[in-house]
Symmetry: C2
Subunit: 146 residues, 2 copies
């Protein structure tokens, strides 16, 4: 098993960050503008990137402190069986987001790609909360020339 | 043991990327402007960030394909026993860099911070090779408010 881990500090309240993680509107500000299905525990969120994209089932939501999703469906294949979590903690003048994309079957080129891309999207989340404008797909920062 | 992994595609030759990984001048364009000691296998590179910073011993250098460093010295403590590698492969119109910072004793908040920060610096490497100007420390992209 292999995990991706990231941590950013966002100048905003835990409530502001939490909101950006649990609603279609919030998620659309930083990951992809084509987000639907977000709701309470058990809801399935569909993230689309110009056609395809992953589904995640909401597993746990603790207001202002934790959001946990389990990958659902079969796209991308390497994400099957993986889980994503966002843990929020208060720091001085910021809320820390500890992000994990856990339980990959094996390390791979694609996992490296996703790890870098998650960093880019977490900085987009940071920017969205701090300035009101993130860089969600299709305006995301490119990390290669595919 | 836990590993950080990233992958970026850089519009440049493997030779251009390799040069940015093996000389003080090259490393200064994307990680920190205060870099010294880079040389052949066995040399110890000192990376400084406004005072302190890590040392790495060059373990392996295969022209245009692989650079491997072993952490040396005692700063930061969590990096002791870890290794960094850059594997270069040719893609269409780009050189892929598969980056690993391997053999952390355990996952931690600090490892999350470093993972995100490595992504930022790899995008700085990408920018340096593609445009001639990266964002090395002290002009690096902030990921928190410390």
């Amino acid at each position: 098993m292999a995990d991706i881990i990231h941590r950013v500090g966002i100048a905003g309240s835990a409530g502001d960050v939490y909101k950006a993680l649990i609603t279609n509107e919030g998620l659309s500000t930083w990951w992809t503008t084509d987000t639907s299905g977000a709701g309470g525990v058990g809801s399935i969120i569909q993230f689309r990137f110009g056609g395809g994209g992953p589904d995640f089932k909401v597993v746990e939501q603790k207001p202002d402190s934790l959001v946990r999703w389990a990958h659902s469906g079969e796209t991308p294949e390497a994400w099957m069986g993986t889980e994503v979590s966002f843990e929020l903690t208060n720091g001085e003048g910021q809320t820390y987001v500890l992000f994990k994309h856990s339980d990959w079957k094996a390390s791979s080129d694609f996992m490296g790609h996703c790890s870098t891309k998650w960093a880019v999207f977490l900085l987009s989340l940071k920017q969205a909360v701090e300035t009101g404008k993130g860089k969600p797909f299709p305006d995301d920062v490119p990390i290669d020339h595919d």
